[in-house]
């Protein structure tokens, strides 16, 4: 971990200590802060003004969503990733994974040069020329034997120029390009083909709805485009004109998405289709369907509510309730997807959801088939299985692997690893030593997104550009360049490509887009504009679709399960690690998972009743056995899961992939059987039943919050919708204070956090780590509650009269920048003090570390440097030069991004004006996909934050202590059972 060694003194350290002990004078001198050397830029490189950051628009490739990002570069190093406001996908926000892409760039365990094991037992470094020559030779050798068709390029869904290049290259070599996505959403495509005749995944407009019914679609976590849909959801679910949208989520477990729902409907796994049809039937039966059910009346009548209720475990009155709400709201929408509906009947389920939308009259502009997702073009799971069988038969001679890790993400039963052993020559383009790359014969490390040119088109309307923000950290090379260079060396391919660099290739392919774009001026202008904006965005007309009559004759079934165990098993994708890709980034490992607040580990969610039956408690280990194998992991007892279901997060359990990922937790994919959705052939994620048994092992469950309730403290407050509608009688009572109120001059920085919008995703937390040089400390230190996060998401389970019986509330807690701060008077040396703009200043240099401020902090948001934490090279390249790196013995806490405040004040001063509202954003506010955080000047009565602070829902946490916080929270709105 990144801290000083503790315990286990080395001999040298022992001698040092003895040396120190010999004289008290030496004690003092050895403990003084380390001398820091400042190396000046005597002649700065062109285009760089020391101290002034450059920003470059690019595209995030951590997941298939393809959000636009802006990367901040200081003195030649990328130091911060921010959302690109121009991007129509994320409009300026970002998620934790996106923020953490920097720790991929600077990961100390990256492959630092090409590697090969051609003449050796193990992978050994070699130069690029040799590496390319080795590849050329292999290709020529193969062509010499005439077996040209046996080359396969296995990549993720790379659209755009690189995808085209690979296609062309494979075509020239007579090979095949297979695009493999872990979560390919094939049933969604197939269902749309069956329902509407369009084999595509549409885009959704959640913001246009006022009632959202989701069947397993974890759109806040990983489903299709989480940042975008979270943003849309917050618009739909946020308070406007004293009303809020309603969101009902159907899933066997209460995922983070379900935790944000007004109602979580716990459904028997694999029966969502029946539930959707039951609801549709109720709508039609009650005469609420605008189209009277179309031609589907007959089909639906087979699913009366009582039957649906029996099959799905959802009470009949809940079904009719949902049916009533769904059809009576002005604009409702049902969506489906995610692993929990991806069983063997996944397509049927999604067709049933389409039917539900259809009978409620929703197929219109909230589902947009005019702009479809490019993930639709990924190859099917059947292509992967047939690839594996050809590999096993020895039919593949060269396998290229690009940005996928199938050894980790494919179920063990498929035997990809063994099949890979039968491929004579495996080339990996991975920049990380993952499970697949380990088995490669030649590793040609690709640049990360931040270091390379490229483009990506996540959907038809968006052609996003990727530009290098800095020169490569290690001796890596962009795969596009490698392909072009190798092609130039293979004799028969010589002349196939006119371009020698991928940059030229990219520009040439963008010339076609330029030609297609009307009125874009000359190409240079178009190119520059696109680069500045992060890409080229089109408006596409939406397409009207109609339900195909064939649907009426479809048979709907329950999902089938393999295995004799008592428990349905859900392996769910993680919003921190996606399919395991994020696990090597310490920020993501240390970001507490929203529900459990667990870090750096895996766990299995167990219902309290089940836990009692199995005789386990939090922290005990369970062994989960499916026909395909056994995993052993820690128990998290959670009321938000069905008693007959167990679930484990995907992403951990790496056996390789660097120091932060290796040997941490378990990989639930390992015990999934090789089952497929019968209609689409896509991988069925929910297809096994496992047995669970207690094993004789127990450890501390490492989490950041050990409590589940508020203990009557009223920290995360809520009001009911009825109260909100009636209007709250706001008592403006000012309690008599001994001291006069503080006076502020021009600025009093403040914040408003809307708890109705906050979804608990934690992107603010990671953004704060990135902006403020917050140290990650590792599992052992978090176990001692020594995490350094300046902002934490508090998670409380509140009793509720909803169907689930509880409600999850999230509250981002950070320094409240109190006007009457308890931390200030107790510091004996004025290391913390009140500044004239309302900030609780923290002077690291003056701090002696009495820690009284933290003891007296009502909100316990101060963090102490127990050690001098270190960032292993080159992770430290990411550190923000505008923020001090703290050393051992000093207190730290949220500064309201004082460096950003000061930067804006400087700019304003140069222009002789005040800082205007919204001129800059603090890091957490900027990242927040739900736009729950608003920062600004409270002295400016017109500012957004001022207005929100006086909202009817506004309150201060623990106001009775009279700390007079600078942060106002807006109460969450609870919706009573209508």
């Amino acid at each position: 971990m990144s801290k000083d060694k503790k315990g286990g003194l080395k001999r040298r350290d022992f001698l040092k200590i003895i040396g120190v002990a010999t004289g008290t004078a030496a004690v003092a001198s050895s403990c003084s802060p380390p001398v820091e050397q400042i190396i000046p830029y005597v002649i700065p490189p062109e285009g760089i003004i020391p101290g002034v950051p450059n920003y470059y628009a690019s595209t995030c490739r951590e997941c298939p969503a393809g959000c636009g990002v802006i990367v901040k570069n200081r003195e030649g190093r990328a130091i911060k990733i921010e959302g690109n406001p121009e991007s129509p996908i994320n409009s300026g926000s970002s998620c934790a994974m996106g923020q953490a892409a920097l720790q991929g760039l600077y990961n100390p365990d990256r492959v630092r040069s090409p590697l090969s094991n051609i003449d050796a037992e193990k992978l050994r470094p070699l130069g690029w020329a040799d590496a390319e020559k080795a590849l050329t030779q292999k290709i020529e050798e193969l062509r010499g034997t005439g077996k040209t068709g046996n080359i396969v390029f296995l990549s993720n869904n790379i659209t755009g120029s690189l995808g085209n290049l690979v296609d062309q290259w494979m075509e020239a070599l007579g090979g095949k390009h297979i695009q493999y996505e872990t979560y390919a959403h094939e049933p969604l495509k197939e269902a749309n083909k069956i329902s509407f005749g369009i084999e595509k995944i549409p885009t959704y407009h959640i913001e246009k709805t006022d009632y959202l019914l989701s069947f397993g679609a974890d759109f806040i976590e990983t489903w299709l485009s989480p940042v975008e849909y979270t943003k849309q959801f917050s618009q739909m679910h946020g308070v406007k004109d004293k009303s809020v949208g309603r969101f009902v989520h159907v899933e066997p477990r209460a995922s983070l998405t379900a935790s944000n729902a007004d109602e979580w409907i716990s459904v028997k796994p694999g029966t969502e289709a029946i539930l959707a049809l039951g609801i549709a039937n109720e709508i039609v039966k009650s005469g609420n369907s605008p189209n009277g059910g179309g031609g589907l009346r007959g089909l639906l009548s087979q699913y009366p509510a009582d039957k649906a209720s029996e099959i799905t475990d959802v009470p009949q009155e809940v079904i009719s309730q949902i049916a009533k709400e769904f059809s009576s709201r002005k604009r409702s929408l049902a969506i489906g997807g995610g692993v929990s509906v991806t069983g063997t009947n996944a397509t049927e389920t999604l067709v049933a959801i389409n039917i539900l939308n259809y009978v409620a009259g929703n197929i219109g502009d909230t589902v947009d088939f005019g702009d479809t997702l490019s993930i639709s073009t990924a190859d099917s799971f059947q292509d992967i299985t047939s690839l594996v069988s050809s590999m096993e038969n020895g039919d593949i001679d060269i396998l290229f692997v690009y940005d996928v890790n199938p050894v980790f993400t494919l179920p063990k039963q498929l035997n990809f690893k063994e099949a890979l052993g039968k491929v004579p020559f495996v080339v990996s383009f991975s920049s990380f030593m993952d499970e697949t790359t380990e088995l490669a014969n030649l590793v040609l490390p690709n640049n990360t997104t931040i270091e390379s040119w490229g483009d990506y088109s996540p959907r038809e309307s968006v052609h996003a550009l990727i530009q290098p923000v800095m020169s490569p950290v290690f001796n890596t090379k962009s795969t596009g360049d490698v392909i072009l260079s190798v092609s130039g060396q293979v004799e028969e391919l010589n002349g196939k490509f006119t371009q020698t660099t991928f940059y030229d290739y990219l520009q040439d392919s963008w010339k076609e887009k330029w030609a297609g774009a009307s009125g874009a001026g000359d190409f240079d202008t178009f190119w520059k504009q696109s680069l500045e904006k992060g890409g080229y965005y089109k408006d596409l007309p939406s397409k009207t679709v109609s339900v195909s009559p064939a649907v009426a004759s479809l048979k709907f079934s329950e999902a089938e399960f393999i295995g004799e165990g008592d428990f349905y098993f859900i392996a769910y994708p993680s919003y921190k690690y996606y399919d395991g890709k994020g696990a090597n980034k310490p920020w993501l490992q240390e970001l507490p998972e929203a529900i459990t607040t667990g870090v750096w580990s895996s766990w299995v969610e167990v219902h309290p009743d089940t836990a009692k039956k199995l005789g386990v408690e939090l922290g005990d280990f369970l062994s989960l056995e499916s026909p395909q194998g056994v995993i052993e992991t820690q128990v998290y007892v959670y009321q938000g899961i069905r008693p007959d279901t167990l679930s484990v997060m995907i992403g951990q359990g790496h056996t390789s992939y660097g120091r932060y990922a290796k040997d941490r937790g378990v990989n639930p994919i390992d015990i999934l059987p090789l089952a497929t959705d019968t209609k689409s052939g896509g991988f069925a994620w929910l297809s096994t039943k496992v047995s669970a048994a207690k094993i004789n092992k127990s450890e501390q469950f490492v989490q950041t919050q050990y409590t589940t309730t508020q203990h009557d403290r009223d920290i995360a407050q809520a009001i009911s919708l009825t109260e909100l509608e009636k209007g709250i009688h706001h008592e403006e009572h000012h309690e008599a204070d001994f001291y006069p109120p503080r006076e502020y001059d021009r600025y009093r920085w403040g914040m408003a956090i809307d708890l109705q919008k906050c979804v608990g995703c934690g992107s603010c937390v990671t953004a704060c780590y990135a902006e403020n040089n917050i140290a990650f400390v590792g599992k052992e230190m978090v176990a001692k509650r020594r995490d350094m996060a300046w902002i934490r998401i508090e998670r409380y389970f509140e009793e509720s009269n909803n169907n689930a019986g509880f409600q999850t509330r999230f509250l981002p807690m950070l320094c409240q920048q109190c006007g009457n701060a308890p931390c200030e008077p107790v510091c004996p040396v004025y290391a913390t003090y009140h500044n004239p703009e309302g900030l609780n200043g923290m002077v690291y240099n003056r701090c002696v570390g009495t820690r009284y401020c933290a003891n007296n902090c009502t909100y316990k948001v101060r963090k102490f440097n127990w050690f001098t934490y270190k960032w292993p090279e080159p992770l430290d390249w990411q550190l923000n030069p505008d923020v001090s790196v703290r050393s051992k013995g000093v207190m730290e806490k949220c500064t309201f991004c004082v460096q950003r405040i000061n930067h804006s004040k400087d700019l304003a001063k140069d222009e002789g004006r005040d800082v205007s509202d919204g001129e800059f954003k603090v890091a957490c506010e900027q990242a927040c996909p739900a736009e729950a955080i608003v920062f600004g000047n409270l002295e400016d009565k017109e500012s957004k934050v001022s207005k929100q602070s006086h909202d009817d829902r506004g309150y201060n946490v623990l106001a009775e202590i009279n700390t007079q916080p600078g942060i106002t929270y807006l109460k969450k709105v609870t919706q009573d059972k209508a």
């Binding site: 003194l9 120190v20 510091c827 040396v829 933290a854 007296n856 623990l958």
Partner: protein, 443 residues
Amino acid sequence: MSEQNTLTYARVNDDIIRMLDKPTFKWWALFLPTLLFVGFGLFCFIYQVYTGLGVAGYRHPVFWGVYITDFVFWVGIAHSGTLISAILFLFRANFRMSIYRIAEGMTVFAVLTAGLFPIIHLGRPWNFYWLFPYPNQRELWVNFKSPLLWDVFAVSTYLTVSSVFFFIGLIPDIAAVRDRVKEVPRKIMYSVLSLGWKGSNWEWLHYTRAYLFFAAFATPLVLSVHSVVSWDFAMSNLPGWHTTIFAPYFVAGAIFSGLGMVITLTVPIRKIFHLEDYITLDNYDGMAKLIMLTSGIVGYAYGIEFFMAWYSGVPAEWYQFYYRATGEYALFYWIMVVCNVVIPLPLWFKRVRRNILALFIISIFINIGMWFERFNIIVISLSRGFDPAAWGIYTPSWVEIGITVGSFAWFFMFFLIFLKTLPSVSIAEMKEILPVPKKEAKT
């Protein structure tokens, strides 16, 4: 009093100065281990400074732990010394005569020990001097609003006053020792320390006035120093700390623990040096009565805290006390209650008060109970603050235990040196309560 009849001025001198004879094997057998443990404590401290405060068991939100417990514990111990020497002097309580020197020595050494802990517990102990308001060209000043700064003044004042008072009381006795010893280095040392005391009437006149003056000067400190220490906690807003009862509660606790420590120390000394004629059962009886009183006050405070927490209707406050008695630290809480309230109860019987063994055992439990009282106040309050999301449990590490053990060794090291260098029973004051010598007695 029959045993006092055998005491004469000459015997007093003989008996007490005999204690300063060359250290025996037994003394070394006690002294060398203290050096060893002091050394180990020093090693722990250096290791902590070198590595970072994280080697202690601290964790969010418990930012204070064993070190501050030790600090308050030692400051508390330091209290009964001044109480016995100053307050009881002013009240003319004669039972103090034989024990006040030991108690004063204990005070000075306990303050010396206590004073280390605020520095040991700092995140950056090499900057400890920033806590003093010294003029500097950076124009940095200290925050007089901070109770920690009040502490700096309270403890340093207390150390100064108690040392001076200790020394003044010693002057006539040192002169007596000076007149007795023959070896040159010791003779020089005692000559210097006795400040040329001759024992003249004129000297005695001024001496007794000065002593009275210092006693009066030291008396308010007994109350103020521990009140200030209690404000370290009471001035905060933390449930369990923020309460007005803390000053009297802490002062009573300090006297209680100090008397406990005096008994713990004097019983073996009395036995080893055969001072039964000096430190009498009457003396112990008097101390035991004070212990009864302070134990009662402390017990009342424990009870009223619960009442106030319930009566206030503040959920955080009530939960804090509910948690103390029933939570993870409940064992420590009940150790405290049993040791400080239940175990001293037999002292209501005169037979127990005059039973040296019983007193010794009770005094040990009082020491343990009072250490845990401070631990409970500090650690349990911190571990359950206002925000349930930031609750956490603290357990001390080996470094903290090492330094705590080292602090006891440090205290006993000074005490053992004191026993062999300075008269541990006041020669001059013992003579005040003796009958006037008969003709044949030598002076």
